[in-house]
Each structure stands twice: as structure tokens, then as C-alpha cells.
Symmetry: D2
Subunit: 469 residues, 4 copies
Amino acid sequence: MTKSDNLTHFDLFSPTDFRYSVRDLLPYLSEEGYVKYKSRVEAALAMQLSRAGICDKSVAKEISRACQQISAKEVYAEELRIKHDIRALANVIRRRVSDKAKPYVHLTATSYDIVDTANAMRFKDAMKSVVLPDLIRLERALIRISRLHTKTVQVGRTHGQHAEPVTFGFFLSYYVSRLGKRILKINDAVNGLAGKFAGAVGVYGPLSLVVSDPQRFESELLGTLGLGACEVSTQIVQPEAVTDLMHSIVSAFGVLANLSRDLRHLQRTEIDEVSEEFTLKQVGSSTMPQKRNPISFENLESLWKKFMPQMVTIYMDQISEHQRDLTNSSSQRYLPELIVAFDYCVRRLSKTIWDEDRRRPRLVVNSVQMKRNLESSMDQMAAEPLYVLLAFAGHPDAHEYVRQVVQRSIKSGSSFRKIVASDPQLKKYYDKIGNELRFVENPVLYVGIASKKTETVAKNWERILSNLR
Amino acid sequence: MTKSDNLTHFDLFSPTDFRYSVRDLLPYLSEEGYVKYKSRVEAALAMQLSRAGICDKSVAKEISRACQQISAKEVYAEELRIKHDIRALANVIRRRVSDKAKPYVHLTATSYDIVDTANAMRFKDAMKSVVLPDLIRLERALIRISRLHTKTVQVGRTHGQHAEPVTFGFFLSYYVSRLGKRILKINDAVNGLAGKFAGAVGVYGPLSLVVSDPQRFESELLGTLGLGACEVSTQIVQPEAVTDLMHSIVSAFGVLANLSRDLRHLQRTEIDEVSEEFTLKQVGSSTMPQKRNPISFENLESLWKKFMPQMVTIYMDQISEHQRDLTNSSSQRYLPELIVAFDYCVRRLSKTIWDEDRRRPRLVVNSVQMKRNLESSMDQMAAEPLYVLLAFAGHPDAHEYVRQVVQRSIKSGSSFRKIVASDPQLKKYYDKIGNELRFVENPVLYVGIASKKTETVAKNWERILSNLR
Amino acid sequence: MTKSDNLTHFDLFSPTDFRYSVRDLLPYLSEEGYVKYKSRVEAALAMQLSRAGICDKSVAKEISRACQQISAKEVYAEELRIKHDIRALANVIRRRVSDKAKPYVHLTATSYDIVDTANAMRFKDAMKSVVLPDLIRLERALIRISRLHTKTVQVGRTHGQHAEPVTFGFFLSYYVSRLGKRILKINDAVNGLAGKFAGAVGVYGPLSLVVSDPQRFESELLGTLGLGACEVSTQIVQPEAVTDLMHSIVSAFGVLANLSRDLRHLQRTEIDEVSEEFTLKQVGSSTMPQKRNPISFENLESLWKKFMPQMVTIYMDQISEHQRDLTNSSSQRYLPELIVAFDYCVRRLSKTIWDEDRRRPRLVVNSVQMKRNLESSMDQMAAEPLYVLLAFAGHPDAHEYVRQVVQRSIKSGSSFRKIVASDPQLKKYYDKIGNELRFVENPVLYVGIASKKTETVAKNWERILSNLR
Amino acid sequence: MTKSDNLTHFDLFSPTDFRYSVRDLLPYLSEEGYVKYKSRVEAALAMQLSRAGICDKSVAKEISRACQQISAKEVYAEELRIKHDIRALANVIRRRVSDKAKPYVHLTATSYDIVDTANAMRFKDAMKSVVLPDLIRLERALIRISRLHTKTVQVGRTHGQHAEPVTFGFFLSYYVSRLGKRILKINDAVNGLAGKFAGAVGVYGPLSLVVSDPQRFESELLGTLGLGACEVSTQIVQPEAVTDLMHSIVSAFGVLANLSRDLRHLQRTEIDEVSEEFTLKQVGSSTMPQKRNPISFENLESLWKKFMPQMVTIYMDQISEHQRDLTNSSSQRYLPELIVAFDYCVRRLSKTIWDEDRRRPRLVVNSVQMKRNLESSMDQMAAEPLYVLLAFAGHPDAHEYVRQVVQRSIKSGSSFRKIVASDPQLKKYYDKIGNELRFVENPVLYVGIASKKTETVAKNWERILSNLR
């Protein structure tokens, strides 16, 4: 532990603190915030001891007041002396209360009754108060932009190759749906967080000495903190609740990384369909003044690469020997960083695509270029509708026929649509096909139900988000 | 692709096929099984085309019959020729049907309509038919053994150190609860698997040409296969459903690895509380005939180490560019292996701890040694109940008092309980404490509500499992 | 273990065996090959026992002959009976020899003397005989193609944006250098593999009973197998040698994945600078006959995603408790798969870019399109050389000046080069700059020493490869 | 970026900054240190420009002086304005120099010429000045302790089961060897770090405009900074050098984690062979005053679990598209954290096992208990030497014979050594075996060459370390 008072943000190693920080999360996820939450659990314990008739209400209130005054600084100073973080906290609280109250501080608790409960609380609060609202804001921005582009045609790309037309709104609605579902998953995982008050090995030893129904004591205590109790604990709560929460976050991070990857490639010079806004004072490159780089999309993908593999740590932390070993302790102290980095990315992506003040997109969408790109491949794009319509009209080998004509068209450089239009053998099928031939003649029309789907998806998620609890 | 007909299990590279294989999963997860599932989707498509009035019912039946005859071998032979796996399948089906039926084979489908739907089906079937039943069997075995040891005292260990008493049944009930919850998680994830029939870029282009309501066509088709439709697809279904399934499996794997780690350490020579059964013909070591090694527990932990990091691949596969790139294709072909290895471990652990035929534990539990280990630390174990009872009785500094006596007891080698029993300053507190002093005198009693909890948990999960759907 | 004799490649779960297999690696890395290698170690042990005077030479020869006849099938059958793989091997050898020879089979050896030594041997042989030659072939193909395009101009891209000119040969020489260095790294790691013959806990217990210098016995024995001895072993060799080997492979895999990623994106419809060859019978898509997909590049990146995270397993396997636990055993059985998948990718990439038979590239390079892409950005690309030349000529604020002109040029749509050419304030600098202004007027020239570097790198690696041992 | 001036260590998210920090690494790896290193590269560039005759020496000195005064704070303030970190640095330097010098600041450089070179330098300095010396101190402590216990017998354990005797010194010498080799690996990797000065796409565009031999310019410049040049760069140096460095660190971390795991388990209550020192004021548990927990060993394993998976990020960062994308930028900013956490662990482990001031072990080794544990299994431990000696004496089926006697001994509870001593059939072999029978009678002697090996290894590494450069 290195603790000086003349610290600046540049005397640090971790970029999460000086570069990718989210100030709004400090009350929950900083070390100071952590100590505050642990103090709140100690206070709640005192109140519950009084409720259970073990100490006077006045004693409980005295302890509770003391708990509100604790700072991380003094707890760390005490830990340095006695080398135990939670006993240090208890000592610091005890110093602030009367002799009468002293015995009731931390009474019946084991360290991890405090630690695991405080973590569940602060993760829950951080998610409910900051991260989920940020995610919902991002989702709403995506919905709005998708609606603006319900009919903006764009070429669909598979394998990086032009495939068939979509709309830019439809492209986004795929992310609206994926991100929406992840928001629900995160919300469920947050609601699954639980605390514990079951003692050093999970059998409620100390509580059994002083109350008749230890499980009721536990659930009442946790209830005042807004948490449920873990069905069975050892010294620690079952690790799966936190594992599920982190999975929900990491898999949501993956959705954002995919969106960033897509937007980043759509900003390629040759494609040029979208771009990040670029301010006048901004420098694109230290030596190539003309550059416009997708730095926010790149940043997000980079932070995803950094934090996604932390799931391996989290899976490894599922294993704790017997009634627990401590090998999950230091590693778990890094869980807040993952939440901060994720939220930083959510906010940065929001800001990159949407101007909240002016309620309009900040993402630059070049719909003229989208159309141009689409049209550059339009001739060959007629192949699929033609093949389906021919088969539908009874052609016995439509796919193979079309495949060969495409090859010929490529080889000869002549238009696919011209070749097939003039093929006398197709005449009888064309007659059957009738009006639907327009999709072959003008494949830009061939967007299926893209627009309708975009609208359906937008409505669905607006409804779900407005009911989210 | 290497395909010879004179193959033995020893001409292989992957242990999943010759060493950790589960024969019961072959119909779902082998390559042959995969081709069968893809054929079933092609058949269902033909039937739906007929239902939608696009082809005759007789045509659909003809195709359907052909689909049932397809073998992996002929599909691979065709793929070798044309280098496309799904078009190869379509060609092979087409060869088997009349000219009248040919145009309707695969009509309106894109490859991944078939692939993603077939994967959802076979993963679902494998999980519902084999893996979940195996898990439930294991969970039931754990419940039964936990009940046999509701009152078998054992020392609780934290940091590898003797802490406070638990019961062996309670120890197991922690796993009953954790595994139970994972079973529900897996079941939910399986139910979340979805198929798709939305064409090459997700906008239902081909279907739009031939039916008026493509989404209805899709949901009817998938309904006949027992699946729902993905809300929005690109060429592929949203990757999160499979990601969640694999997370549920990998996190369940972690629970089993933790149990194996615990049992493995309880088998240490010095601890000797449990052991794997050892048959008479078995060889413990090639040169140390006396060895009894926890090889099944070790094996499980080793396979967990092998397969857990595959989650990284799965998270990376959430990213697919634009309407999809193919960089998730080869990697996804390895998903079945993860399921097989997990199921192998579930079965092996089941067999190691429970004899299904004789309906009794196969895990050797040495309750005499458990008691002996517990008793070896009993003197100092009185410290916690004494501290709590003293504090409860009004001692102003009970924890510090007890801490110092323990230090003294260790230093002097004299009994902690003797020192505290004879300390005159404690007299007045002892009077207040009264009968509860028995926990100090005989800490074996200090198991809290371990037995009751074991029974509650057992009942809870028996009830849940019997309702599982 | 599932062992039937009527096995086909489609009754398997792992794609490494039916789809991404490398037949040439079977003798080393299949289970049959593994048993053969273990038998060779047993044979070498017998020979060394005779060399040390412990048994007759005839006995050693008898054992050695027996070892050559062992098949995996019979070893597995015996293992099924006695549940120990190496004792099973010893039993099977013993059955084949006279009573006189029986005692000397496996004498003084512990299982992992055989296992770890056999693994070191077969990994070494597989790498030296197959993988390294394959890598060298790939490296030579890259060198050749780089030389063909020493002067083929291409736009350099940073952040997906056009930056400054390079040549396609230079682009490849970056990979020649990276892959070359990885080949050396792999070669070093292979040479670092070691065996052991130090008994069950590493102190040469059994050997100490029968020879005076057990370390000499060990190094002579291993010497006959082409291996050195590990400095200190426990039951197992130190894990770092294999860890380093796998790191060298995985990091080489990363280089190939990067090259594939690049080539894949260069094949995008809008960029169209390279493409995989496409045969006439090949089907691009099951419904979009016009598609030309970069499937080999995608395949490689996908297999990299699958196998790279196995490094996590390998790092976890560095930890083995005390003189070893078995939790690295099952996981290590999967190491061969990683080597096979890597080699499959090396071969596939080689074949995709180079036609060995006709000794010419198979990768289609569209140098016309490369030039076209470069020229599309040429106007703004003049910015950097201008800025540097202006600064060089004494302009006090060249970067800022150029940055502002670029902004103006973008806003107004007028040519950057025209604006700067007509700016009277630059006149005096232009006079100083003189002839070098050609880089501003025609930035295609601005390729620095790209061509020279390409040639230097090519020569360097040809030389190194030809000396590789 | 959040930058306040009233920051304390508790307003942070990352434990690397407030809990696991290493103050001695701040000059290299903090953000302030990073800015200092980048300034040094800018200064070196100015000096090289003067050496190449491009600017006056006085100009170079002016820039160099300015570079020494730069603080992170002002660079970040400028970055906030123009959104580009390196151009911000250049601007801040420019502000400090005369108009005459301004044009030469950053001239010919691209951002990553500065960034990658600065990173190579500071990683090298941090490793050479702090981490490697710390590692060598730890290695020396291990050597010393191993020597103190050359003959301290301990039971060797495989699978957690007593196997055969070793010595505690031998146990440690396995780690001396493993860690020693990792130190060499790290040292090699550090020496492999390289810088670059090749411009925005690697072809030395800007330098080509102003010097005749850009590669010489680069290697001279880097030479003044103690670095070599990367053979071919794009915008960035080849990623493999850093990948190798991080692999060497992470694999060394694994060795320390294994040692910690071992020592942690040897501290188990039932085993009790070693323990961490425990100070008088230290609190073992918040409610169980008797606990002595292996918290430093647990801490180390936990931090290993946290940081090891970062290798996945590092492998992913090998991929950068074309001449580079920025998706490795944010992730690379976290590399220092990995080095800090590793060094924190090296120091903590050193301090836990060795008292540098008093030059004696701080690790508590309980050799009495080691002997006791060994002796508890001694009877069965006679099995292996007996089997080997019998076989050596010509017994045709010694292993099977011994295996059966062991089974009988276990079943009947009678002594293995007694049964075999009284078996008349063994008489003739015993006569042949002679004096060597002492290993059967007293298997404590059966430590092979443990002591000699310990000494050899100690000497070897003392020699190597003293020559390390």
C-alpha cells in the first residue's frame, strides 16, 4: 500500500483511473466507496442486533452513526498495523463508540458476511444507478437512429462481399435487439445478487448462540439492505451470482464491440458510409493532417479485448477450497474495474453516435455513398431473386443455371441482367413470374421486409425499456 | 479432409473421440448426426413450402423422404467437388428426387438458415435428452449422500486451516444448491435457443418473393422443429443464445471442478476423509503399488482447465462483421466437443460418487477420520463461541481478549480452554452465559444449523427437479 | 473409452479428426503414434539397462523387439482392465517376452519417465519433420510473392483510412520478417524440449538402487532418443519447455491470423486488391451465385480464435501440486490437436497463396485496382511530404498550416494540391525545396525505401532459412 | 479523463494503484513516467536531426532542454483540446522553444515512432532496474533456503498422496531451476525489445525526404536510447517482441504461483510443514482468533489468476489491420499494470520467505513435522524399493507381487514390511540384494540423490546469476 497525500492522476499505473474513468461510479466502486458500503453493512448489523433484542436501540444508533463517519484512510492505517482489513474496520468503528456499545460492533459477523454483502450492494447500486441507465440511453439512441434510416438502402455484406440489399435502419435494428436482450440479461443478473450472514463456515455458528432463527435474522438484515440471502453459503456467497453478472456484462460488451467493428469498417476510405464526427480543432494524425480516424470505435474494441478475458479469472474464481480459500480475494478487487471500463465504453459509444443536447445523431451517415456502393454490385445482385423466381416458376435447375450465367458474365465482363434478359429459354418462366421480375430488374427493391422489421423492433424495445425494473 | 474407411479410434488426434467420448451423444453431436439434423431442416422447409401452397404436398413428402436417406459420407464427397457444404447437401438431396421436386429443394433458404437452425435443434436435443438427465442424476446422488451425512461432523476449513465445525452433509448441500441452480440456468439457456429462416442478410429477401408473410412462414417452419425464431437475424442468428448456453455449461463445469478439487484434497494422505473407490485389479501407480490416487477428481479438474478457456473463443465469436463473416464457422464446429467433455465429466463424477445399480454411495467417506481431524483442533476452536458469548454477556473487548489468550496458549503450549476456564475475570460473564457455555466446552456441538439446512436444501431441490421442464 | 471397429470419420465429435486433419502428423500425434513413442522409450530403457550392466544385451534386444510390435488397441484393452495406462503398456510388453526378460521391462521407470519423454520426442519429431518444413515452405512462398511485387504500389492504411503509399511487396515483407522470427522461435523452443528419467518424485530413487551415477544413466538414455535431460524434475519434467513451445506456436498462429485478416479485408468488394483463387466448379454461396468469399482466410482466423485461448490451459498446467498432481494429464492430451490445427492452417494458407506445382502465386493480386485505390486519395496524401518539406525549408508552423489547408480543401471540395500550389506565401519555401517537390506533386512516388527494404528482408530470410537447423 | 488535484489513493478503482502498487516502478510505468519517456524520444530525435545536419546543434539542445520540463498534466490539458496525445506533446514542446526551433520539433516522426520507442525503453528500464533485480533477490533467497534444507527429509507427494521421500531442499531446488530459467527468458525477452523510426506506414517516407540513409538515421537515433531497430515496421513495431516479454513474465508468474500453491498446502492444519511468519499484532480472522492463514501465498495465486489471462489480450493485439489499426492502443496502456502486479508478487514472496535485514529465512519450516508426516507412511513406502530390488534380483513378477502384498496389508491392517520380511519365497532374492535392503527397512534413506542435486542446482544458478547481463 502506497499512500501519499500529494497524489495526481499521473502518478498512477492503471488507465482506468486516469484515462477511462467514470466519475459517477466513484461512490460505488472506488476504494472509498467500498469502505462506505462495508460500514453500511456494519451499521445494518447493529440495527438488526437491536431488532432481535440483543442490544439496545440506542446502542445500535450509536454504532450506526459511527459507521457513517468512517473513512478509507483511517481503516487502511489500522490495517497496516494489524494486517486484517475487516477487523481494522471494526476497530475503527469501536474507537468511535462508547464502552457500552463496543461489544456489539461486528458481533456475530465474520469478515465475509460484511465483504460479500457490501459487494453485492455496491455492484447492484452501481448497475441500477449508473450503468443500466447509461445502457438504456444508448439503446434509445440506437432506436432513434434506426428509425431515421428505416428506408436508407445499404448493401448487405457477408464475408466482406456485397450480398443483397438491406437498409441502414435494419442493420441497426439487429443491434437494438441484441443490446436490448443483453440489458434484460444484465438486469436479471443484478437482481440475482445476494448477500450472506452465515458466519465463518456458513452454518450460522455465532448467530445460533444468540438468536433462535438465524436464517430469519439474516434475511431481515439483508432485506434492510435491499438484498436477498444466498441459499447456502460457506464463508462466502456462492460465486455464480457474480459470475453471471460479469458474463452478462462481458457478453453485452461483445455486442458493443461488434457494432464498433462494423461502424469502424464502414468508415474505411473505400466504403465511407459512416464516420465519427470530427471537430475542427481535432488533430487526425501527428503527421498526416488529412486523416479522419474512427478512434472511438477502435477504443471500444480495444477495451473489450482488454477486459473480456477477465472472464477467465472469474471462472477460475468459482473454485474456492473447502469453506473457502483466499485466492479469490485480490482478483475480485479488480471486478469494479471491469464495470467501470464497460460503462466508459457505453458512454463513449453513446456520445459518438448521438448528441444528447441537440437530440440528433452525431454519427455521420453518408446515405448517398451507401446507395452508390449498393448500386455498384447491383447487376450481379439480381442473381438470387432470379434464381428463386425461376425455381418458383418451375425451372428444374435454377441455381445451377444462374451460377453458370454469373460465371460467364464475370468472365466476359458483360451484364448479368442483360444476358438473362435475352435468354430465350427463360421466356416461359418470365411469363409466369410476371410483376415480380421487378426485383431482378432493380435489385435495390429487393430489401424484403427490412423496413417493417426495423419499425417492429424499435417499438418492441421502446415498450420493454419503458417497463424495465 | 481425410476420410478412410479403415479407421480405428487410435488413428485420431482428439481425446474427445477416443478417450473422453460419450456414445449417447453421437446422434446429436457427431458429424453424421449434424448432417442428419441439417437434412431434417431441409425436410421441414419442403413441408412448409407445401403448407404455404408453394409446392404440392407430394413433392414435399418426396423431398422429406430423400432427406431421411442422406449420409455424411456422400455430402462430404460432393463438398470435395464443389467446396460448399450446404450446396453439397442440397445437391445430394436433389439427386434423390424427381425433376418435379428438384426446384423445391432448399428453395428460399440460405445456408445458415439450415446450419443455425440445425445447431439450435441438435444442441437442444443433446442437452434435453442426455446432458440434463445426466446432471439431474448427479444432483440426486449428491442429495442422497448429503442426507446420509446430515450429522457427520467435519472440520470446516478456510485458507486450508481448521476453522469451525460443519457436517459433511452440509458441505455437500452447498454443492447441491450450486449445481441445482446451474441446472436451472442450463435449462433456461436451452429454452432460449432459436432458429432462423430469414435469408442471406436477414431481410427475408427470397421468402418475400413467394409468400406474403415471411415471418409467419419462418415461425411456423421453426415451430414444427420445436424452436422459436430469433427476433432479428442477419445471415446468422444472434450469437448470444449460444453464448449464454455455453456460459451456463462452463459455469456448471466450474461447480463440478470445485467439488472435485475439494474431494481431491480431502483424499490427501494426511486428511484422509474421503476417497475414490479402488478396485482390486486397479493399479495405483506403475511403480508405487501402495498409491490410491483421486484420478477421477483430477481428471475432471483437468478437463475443466482444458475446456473453460473455450469461452474466450465463444466471446470472440460474438463478433461477426456486417451481415456476417465466416470467422465463426470453424470455431463453432468445436462447440459439440465442449458439450461432450462436460457430459463425460458429469457421468464420471456421478459414477465415482454413486453406485446407481446398488443405489448406494461409491464415494468412500471416512467419518471416523473426519471426527478425528475435527477433534485435533477443538481446543482452539472454542475461541469463536467464547468471544461471541463473552461479548453477548457484555465483555467490552471480547475479541481482543480471546485473541491474546490464543496467542498465549500457542506460545505456552497449554490448553486454551483451560486458561479461559480458570480466568477469574471471566466468572461474572460465565454466570450470564449459563448453558450456552457447552459450545465452548465441546466445540463439536458448534455446528449451528448445519443439519437443518442440509435437509431444507435437499427437499428444495428434490421438489424443483421433479418439476423441471 | 469407446472403441468400435466400424468407425468412420463421421462418427466423431472433433473436427480436427475429420475436417482439419493432417494425415502426415498421424505417426507422431495420433493415439497410435503416442503408444509407439512410449514403446520406443521402453525399448531405449531396456537398452540402457543392458549398457549399464543390469541386464543382458539379449534381454534388452528381446524387449526392444517386443516394443516394436505393440499396438494401441491392446494397450487400451489392458488399461480397461487395470485402469492405469502405463502399467498396461508394461504388461503388454511383458506378455511378449520370456520370463527371463520380464523383470527388466519398465524396471526403475515411473510412468512419467515414459510419458514426458515420449511427448518431448514426438512433439520434437512432429515439429522437425512436418511443421517446420511446412512453415519454411510458406515463408518461401511469401518471400517469392513479395519479390514479385517489390514495386507494385498500394495505399498504406492506418485505422482503415488511406494514409501513405507502400508497395504490396513491402506489405508482405513485414510478414516475411514476423513469420521468419517466429520460425526461429519455434525452432529454439523445439530444441529446448527435454525428457526425464528421475523416478516418481524426481530424486532418482529406483535408479539409485541399481546404478552409481543415475544422472549419467538418464542423460545417456535420453541421448539415444535425441533429447537432453531436464535439470531437475519432480515426477514430471518442468512444464516451461512445453509452455514455451506452445507460446511459440500460438504467437506464430497470430502472425498468420493477422496476414489472413489483412488479405480478407483486401478482398472486400469495395477494395478488391487481392482474392483467393476460385475454381469453376466451386459454389460461392448456396443462394447467391455471384459471391467470391475469402473462405480460407476466414477459416484460418476462425481456427486461431479456437486454439489461441488454449494457452490459458497451458499456463494453468504450469501449476502441479508438490511432486505433481494429475490435473495436467487430460488437458495435455489435447496438445497434439493444437499442433495439428496450426499445421493445417500453415498448409492451407500456403496452398491458398502459392501453387507449388506450377511455382507461381495462387493468390490473385489486382495491381490495377491497387493503383486505382491509391490514386483516389492522392491529392490529400500530398499533405505529409509537404508538411515535412516545408518544415525542413524553415516554415515555422508547417503542420498546423497544412492541417488547416486540408480542412479547407475538404470543406470546399477543392484540390489540396491546387490550393497549396497557388499559395503565394509558400513561394520562398518551394524555392528552397526544389526537386523534392515532386513527392508533393505526385505522392505515388512517396514510397520511401519500400522496394529496397523488401529486397533486403527477402535476402535476409533466404539466408537464415537455408542455415536453419 | 478525470483530473482533480485533491486526489487520494482511495478515489481510485484499480487496486494496482492503492493496494498492490510498487512505488519504485512509478518513474517507468506511471503515466507521468510515460510522458517523460516520450519526451526523451522527442529529445533524441532533435539531437539526431542535428547529427544528420538537418538542424543546428543549438536548436537540438534547446528542444532537448524543453523536453526535460514537460509534465503529464500539461500534455493532457492540450490533448483535451485537440484530441490527439502525441500532437499534444509536440505542441507543448513547441511552446517552450524559439520560433527557430519550432519546425524541428517532432519533424519526420509519426506518433508511433515516439510511442513504441518510448514503450520499449521504459519496459526495458523497468525490467532491468527493478524487476530483474527483484527476481534475482528472490532466486537467491530460494537458493539459500534450499541449502539450509539439503538434508531435511520430507515426504514426496504425488496426487496429494504420500509417494516417496525427498528433501525440503530438493523440493526448493526444483523451483530454483524453474525460476532461474524464467529469469534468463525474461532477460532475453527484454533484450529483444526494439524501437522504430520508420514513419506512418513503415517505409520511412518523411525521413527519405531529408536524409540519404533513413535506416542508418533510425539505428543511430535508437542506439542513443539503448535500443535496436525493428527489422520491418508498419506504423508500429512488430508486436511479437512485447508478446514474448509478456509471455516470459506470465510464465514466470506461473512458477511463483505453483510455489505459492505448494507452500499454501504445506501450511494446511493437517500437514503443518511450513507457515508464513505471523506477527504478534496481526489478526488472523475477524472472528476466529486462532487462525494462521497463508495470506501472502493466497494473494500471489489470486493475482496470478487475475493477470495471467491478459495474455489473451496480448495475443489478440498481435492482429492489427494493414499498416495498423488503433485497437491495440487502449489495451496496451494496461501492460504496465501486469508488470507492476508481477513485481509486487515477486517482492511479497521474497519478503514472506526471507528476511533481508537479518539474512535468514522468514518462512517457518517445521522439519520435525516433515519427518513425522514422512514416517506415517513409511511402511508402505518400502514397496517401491522392494519391487525394484526384487526385480533386479531376478524376481519374475516383482511389481505384481508387491502390489498384492500391499493390498493385503491394507485390508488386514498389518505391516507391509513385516509381511514381506517373513515371506519365505523372498529369501533367495534377499540374499542377492544384500545391503541394499536397508532402503526397504528404512525408507527414509530412500531419497536418491536429492541432497547432491540440491547442491548442484544451487551452485549452477549462483554462477549463472553472477554472470547475468
